[in-house]
Symmetry: C2
Subunit: 361 residues, 2 copies
């Protein structure tokens, strides 16, 4: 097992990573402050791991709520079921919410915890690679709105993140690849050594080699935790680097309808597009762009947006993204592998060229 700490002063919390951690009541229990907890999971994960988690919570008053599975259920309306369960079972301010599942469950549970009685504790037990390396670290919580993804939410830090790598055994191949997109992203942002390591170990990861997975997860969490600690609420721009590939990706996800593409798939493609634009700006060599494209492809992720999205529609969807400030689009681009920058200083016509090149109307 490896343990990292996300350093956020009084709100610092540990991330435990290793095999068999769902059974480790000794890791979980110290973070449940009251005698009461509510496990939130979904109908896919519940049959696989709920009982194991509940055993680790024996002796507490524990309730659970099972949500439908899928990004399209990440709504205020579905989240209301968590509030209703909490109120029906008389959960008070001393309760702890425990998110058992992927990013959707984690984001919704975290937002419910941020807003139930104006804020209660929560713990993340992510069961997908994407959630393990991304959404479970950093305290971003929220839901989608029909007019945009993740438009409603709050910053709310968990008390603890418990990552049991065994839960990846049941993860579909496609979701494993989607998670790898975020791992690749950390390499591109500011960890060129991770990127080089991935070039050597991608096949081991795809084969779910436990040691390789633990290393990739721990390194990703450490990279993200460092960035989050620098800029908890995304005010300085540092944290915004984590959005590499995301503005392009959000346009894809929204354009094809939530849930058609996985988030990581859209981010994978978005990173290739960001690299392409960086090259057009002469910030990056063609050979490096090719390393990015090749890595995304080897991770079995798409390197082109789906057919049917026009350039104009793509640009319009990018403009709705939260990274627009004062009406100007800001993007995370690359000055080489391991050096991402947030900028609005790019020629809009080059952005249009990139999108023209990639989209198939």
């Amino acid at each position: 097992m490896e343990t990292l700490t996300v350093e956020l002063g009084a709100r610092s919390y540990p991330i435990h990573i290793g095999a068999g951690l769902l059974e480790r009541a000794d890791l979980l229990r110290p973070h449940v402050r009251g005698g009461q907890a509510m496990v939130v999971t979904n109908e896919t994960v519940a049959p696989l791991y709920l009982e194991r988690l509940l055993r680790s919570l024996e002796g507490l008053r524990v309730d659970h709520v099972v949500l439908p599975d899928g990004e399209r259920y990440k709504t205020l309306q579905v989240m209301d079921r968590i509030y209703t369960a909490l109120l029906e079972r008389h959960h008070d301010r001393g309760t702890t919410l425990i998110a058992l599942g992927g990013g959707v469950v984690g984001d919704m549970t975290g937002f419910a915890a941020a807003t139930y009685l104006r804020g209660v504790d929560f713990i993340q037990v992510p069961t997908t690679l994407l959630a393990q390396v991304d959404s479970s670290v950093g305290g971003k919580t929220g839901v989608n709105h029909p007019l945009g993804k993740n438009m409603i939410g709050a910053f709310h830090q968990p008390r603890c993140v418990l990552i049991d790598t065994d839960t990846l055994d049941t993860l579909p191949d496609r979701e494993l690849s989607a998670g790898l997109a975020e791992v690749v992203k950390y390499g591109l942002i500011d960890d060129p050594a991770l990127f080089a390591w991935l070039e050597d170990h991608l096949e081991a990861l795809l084969a779910r080699d436990p040691a390789a997975l633990r290393h990739a997860i721990a390194r990703s969490c450490a990279d993200k935790a460092r960035i989050v600690a620098d800029d908890e609420t995304e005010r300085s721009g540092r944290r915004a680097l984590l959005n590499l590939g995301h503005t392009f990706g959000h346009a894809i996800e929204t354009g094809v309808g939530y849930g058609t593409w996985l988030h990581g798939e859209a981010v994978g493609c978005g990173m290739v597009m960001a690299a392409d634009l960086s090259r057009r700006l002469s910030w990056m060599e063609a050979a490096e762009v090719e390393r990015v494209r090749r890595m995304v492809e080897r991770a079995r992720l798409p390197v082109r947006p789906p057919a049917g999205l026009t350039t104009d529609r793509f640009l319009e969807l990018m403009a709705v993204d939260k990274k627009v400030l004062g009406g100007r689009l800001r993007l995370v681009l690359l000055e080489g592998i391991g050096h991402a920058v947030l900028t609005d200083r790019f020629d809009g016509s080059l952005l249009r060229e990139t999108i023209d090149t990639f989209t198939v109307p």
Copy 2:
């Protein structure tokens, strides 16, 4: 005009109180950081004051959304209209939400600001006495849930509170009285001088004497601001003193259905009940309880719950309240006028006696 500051470190903010402040662009504009704002109001207040406020915002890109009026619309579903308006009009992270209205508008607007794009600025322009002395100060925001009042929300501090006492000219008598309940409350909690001043000036307040109103509002805001500054997120118990009368009051509001009684009416009655229980515990003299009852009555507020609530139902409704921790009911009671205490150390049978005495099944 009087100006107070709520001292919360980097989140400190001013409260301006006086006549004609809606026209004071110079007070409002410095707190709108970007070029964009969204005014949220309701269908009662909009025809009276919206245009005046919009004039003070000329030169900014300003949109507005008009909600239906009433506590029963303080829901996630109605709040969604604010999100939709913000997204449709492409409001970004630099936007400022401005709440123009009573407590319902303020609470919903504040919660929307706390959660739109994970948090944007907001300004309170309260137009009811209740909102001016209570909900606009302290950063509590939120909505009701069918299973309980104010169960969903967040702490989110405004950038500024602008209290134009002229807006009270159009306030119905019943709502003026409801606001006075909270003013009386500050006297009871820790400001016996205010309580004594109220005994001398209650008729002036009911006659809407401007100087008396300004004094009562400023004193109430200062009392509340001091308590909030001590305990911003209600962790130490100090802030919980503001709930004097509220646990009894919430039971009444829920029992008769939201919106039948005004919040301040329920709190007024709740304070008399809290005083009665305090006397039964021998913490307070009968003569002081009578001063409390007389004050609430002179403010034209009810001193008994509505008929039809049984003692058992009343107790059950009190138990759902947020002030229950670890299963034990905590109440704010009085050790005399100007000395409130938060406690779970009271005999449950005496609480039952109080409720028996007051309820008319």
